[in-house]
């Protein structure tokens, strides 16, 4: 073995070790966070905790209303945000070529980078103030606004991955453009689009800031979209900043529930994106 | 491009081989006629001994043509060249066979007293040889004009043959004692006439190779 050979091998070994170390650090930190949350949270978990609504300190109570509220908010934001985002994505990929498309793409990218609290303040100004009260609806809109750019860009990327030959194949059979998009391109990209949608849902399910100004929070089970609504994240925030140990413990448990929820969504993504065709 | 140079190399090696075969046929004819006119049976035997090599060469050319067609799939002028060579090789081999037959006749005649006042076959032989040389040249240079000239000149050999034929028949009648030897000479003349026909075939192949025109059978 000559000199340069030895150096090359040493370099290789050092770099391999370095990357392994980085991976270990990142994954290790994540594992510590997860296990710490589980350790802290598991003690307060009970059937009652998952189903009851909050009670004053010392009386126990639960996060049932917050779980339901979070699900309502996610559903609401999905109903508003996903179709809008997918439509923008389709426009970017299939229709908006050239300058207009580039402008739209730039705006979408900018929106992705806006801090979520700004979105919350915006919805507060546009919806909450005119309506004169917080509401689940406003919360849903705020989350939807965060979803749109994410969904739009993933949809665009997924549609662009659909081979051009598929489009040509459909066009060559006498299909007009819109039928090609609807009947061939979107179905072909459907698993990818679903992934994007699920990732967006997972992303907003962890949002707190935009909800503070919009959905606000509530100690009761939701009855209408037109009134404030509880959510896991806001509940965690409120309990965590409270001075009571019992509420701190409940915040840990709620965090564990939220984490499980996000994990559940991610698993669902994997499941949905298995190739069917 | 390497691939095409490869084909070019094979085609030129094929050309070399077929010219070698042509040279062999030419030489066999020349030496057989020498053996006849100079009454040299040793030379005649050399011609006969050499025939195996000629046959071997023909088989080799055949095989090479098949290989090129199977492996290189030649098209257009390359295809016409390979096909022409494949058809030409047996023709050349047959010319060499005729030369062998002449050599055998020479050995037989040399074992008997020399004939007096025989018709001159050397003119015919010379003409046949010239035709063959010309045909090989025309093939080498792809010269269809020259090939057509040579085809036309075949009639001269036919005229010479007819003339010789009548002379020999006359001799058989006037000098019956020489009839056997006359008959042998008649065969020699016939061989030379056939060689002229074969040369015509070669020229037709040359015209096909150069112009993709089939001139056979449409006189």
């Amino acid at each position: 073995m000559n000199h340069s050979d030895r150096i090359r091998r040493m370099n290789s070994a050092v770099m391999t070790g370095l990357t392994a170390l980085c991976t270990l650090l990142a994954v290790g930190a994540l594992l510590i966070i997860l296990s710490y949350i589980a350790w802290q949270g598991i003690g307060s978990l009970s059937f009652q905790f998952l189903t009851d609504s909050p009670r004053p300190v010392g009386e126990g109570g639960g996060i049932g209303n917050a779980i339901l509220g979070s699900l309502v908010l996610l559903l609401l934001s999905s109903v508003i945000g996903l179709p809008l985002g997918i439509c923008v994505g389709v426009y970017l990929s299939e229709v908006g070529r050239g300058r207009v498309g580039n402008v739209v793409r730039f705006i979408v990218d900018t929106l992705t980078g806006i801090p979520s609290i700004v979105t919350g303040v915006f919805v507060y100004a546009v919806l909450v103030l005119p309506m004169r009260h917080f509401s689940a609806f406003a919360g849903g809109v705020a989350l939807a606004l965060i979803m749109v750019p994410i969904v739009a860009r993933t949809t665009e990327e997924m549609l662009k991955l659909v081979p051009h030959s598929l489009r040509e194949g459909a066009l060559a059979l006498g299909a007009p453009q819109w039928r090609v998009t609807l009947g061939v391109v979107i179905p072909a990209a459907a698993p990818g689009i679903a992934t994007g949608a699920m990732l967006a849902i997972a992303r907003v399910s962890g949002e707190t800031a935009p909800l503070l100004f919009t959905a606000f929070g509530s100690r009761f089970f939701p009855t209408s979209l037109n009134e404030p609504i509880a959510s896991l994240t806001v509940q965690i925030y409120n309990y965590a900043i409270s001075p009571y140990d019992e509420w701190h413990a409940q915040a840990w448990a709620a965090t564990l529930v939220l984490m499980t929820l996000v994990l559940g969504i991610n698993i669902m993504v994997r499941f949905l994106t298995r190739k069917k065709f | 491009m390497d691939l095409h140079r490869h084909l070019d190399d094979e085609l030129s090696s094929l050309r070399d081989r077929v010219l070698l075969l042509g040279g062999e046929a030419e030489q066999a004819l020349e030496r057989a006629m020498y053996a006849l006119s100079k009454r040299d049976s040793e030379v005649a035997r050399q011609v006969l001994d050499h025939d195996d090599e000629v046959d071997h060469l023909e088989v080799e050319i055949d095989r090479q043509c098949i290989d090129i067609i199977a492996l290189r799939q030649p098209a257009a002028r390359d295809l016409r060249f390979v096909i022409s060579v494949a058809k030409m090789a047996p023709v050349l081999e047959r010319i060499a066979d005729h030369a062998c037959n002449i050599a055998r006749a020479a050995i037989d005649l040399n074992n008997e007293p020399e004939l007096q006042s025989v018709p001159d076959l050397s003119r015919m032989a010379k003409h046949a040889l010239n035709m063959l040389r010309g045909a090989l040249d025309a093939f080498t240079s792809g010269d269809a004009v020259m090939a057509r000239e040579i085809i036309k000149s075949d009639s001269e050999i036919n005229d010479l043959y007819n003339h010789t034929f009548h002379r020999l028949i006359e001799l058989m009648v006037t000098e019956p004692a020489t009839a056997t030897r006359d008959a042998r000479l008649l065969f020699v003349a016939k061989h030379l006439e056939r060689i002229g026909d074969y040369v015509t075939d070669i020229c037709e192949l040359t015209v096909y190779m150069a112009e993709a025109a089939f001139i056979k059978h449409n006189k």
């Binding site: 070529r97 081979p163 030959s165 598929l166 489009r167 040509e168 194949g169 459909a170 066009l171 060559a172 059979l173 006498g174 299909a175 007009p176 039928r179 009947g183 061939v184 179905p187 072909a188 069917k276 065709f277 | 491009m1 691939l3 095409h4 084909l7 070019d8 799939q73 030649p74 098209a75 257009a76 002028r77 390359d78 295809l79 016409r80 993709a212």
Partner: protein, 277 residues
């Protein structure tokens, strides 16, 4: 041994199995006059004029970038999809100019089917792939008629026996050669008059290729077929007429056997014998 009293009959053999049925003067299906084509400022085709008779196979050969594929795609206006392209000249199919103002592109593509280099089945079932063109063009509303047309197309494409028991399975589960025959079936289902094939076998193994070639041979009884191929032996095997393109110009059109034994043009000869430049 019986003595033959009559001289044996001499039969005049027909040279090629299924040359144009009627033989001599079949009518012109596609007539192109002075066609020029531009990608932006780059002229890709120069003054192409050619006549394609009905029910023959015409092969386009030439080096990469010679314009043969571009020209093929002008025959069903597939180039319209590419932005910045421009066509000048006439393409007449049954004496109608397909580039005339008001000409119906969708109707044109119904009449002029296309099969692409890379097989491009839609991510749908085998049945739905073949039925796609029929549904798009509203050929029939009856389910049984639809099934009948699908079966017929699959039979014409010599694929029926291999897929009849799994019509509902994904088209992507088929092998490469089967996928390409599926694409042919898909094109045949709407009963085009002309079938354009852009290197249909270039991605297939020799056995799949020979199946496609046999298929082409059978199809020319009903269709006018134009095939672009890089494989000159393939052009020699399947076509009746061959056209040679070079640098966007049509150099020579000739009977295939003439083209491959004694082409008229020196450029063609150089290309066919592999001695280019």
């Amino acid at each position: 041994m019986p003595v033959q009293t009559e001289p044996p009959k001499i039969e005049v053999g027909s040279r090629r199995g299924s040359a144009p049925a009627s033989g001599t003067s079949s009518s012109t299906k596609v007539a192109v006059r002075d066609l020029n084509f531009f990608y932006g400022r780059v002229q890709a085709l120069h003054n192409i004029s050619i006549e394609i008779p009905e029910r023959i196979v015409m092969a386009f050969i030439g080096p990469s970038g010679c314009g043969k594929s571009t020209f093929l795609r002008t025959l069903n206006r597939m180039n319209d999809v590419i932005p910045g392209t421009r066509v000048a000249g006439q393409v007449l199919i049954d004496d109608q100019d397909i580039y005339a103002p008001g000409a119906d592109v969708v109707e044109l593509r119904r009449r002029v089917g296309m099969v692409f280099q890379k097989s491009n089945p839609f991510p749908k079932s085998i049945f739905d792939n073949v039925a796609y063109g029929l549904r798009i063009n509203r050929v029939t509303s009856s389910g049984s008629e639809l099934a009948g047309r699908v079966e017929e197309a699959l039979k014409d494409a010599a694929l029926w026996n291999e897929v009849k028991d799994r019509l509902k399975t994904s088209a992507l589960s088929l092998s490469g050669g089967q996928q390409q025959r599926l694409c042919i079936a898909r094109a045949l289902a709407i009963r085009p008059e002309v079938l354009l094939m852009d290197e249909p076998a270039s991605a297939l193994d020799p056995i799949a290729t020979s199946k496609i070639e046999e298929l082409i041979f059978d199809l020319k009884k009903q269709y006018t077929i134009v095939i672009v191929t890089h494989n000159m032996q393939q052009a020699a095997r399947v076509s009746d007429t061959t056209a040679f393109f070079l640098l966007g110009k049509l150099i020579e059109v000739n009977a295939t056997e003439k083209m491959f034994t004694a082409p008229n043009e020196k450029l063609t000869e150089d290309y066919i014998t592999g001695r280019f430049g």
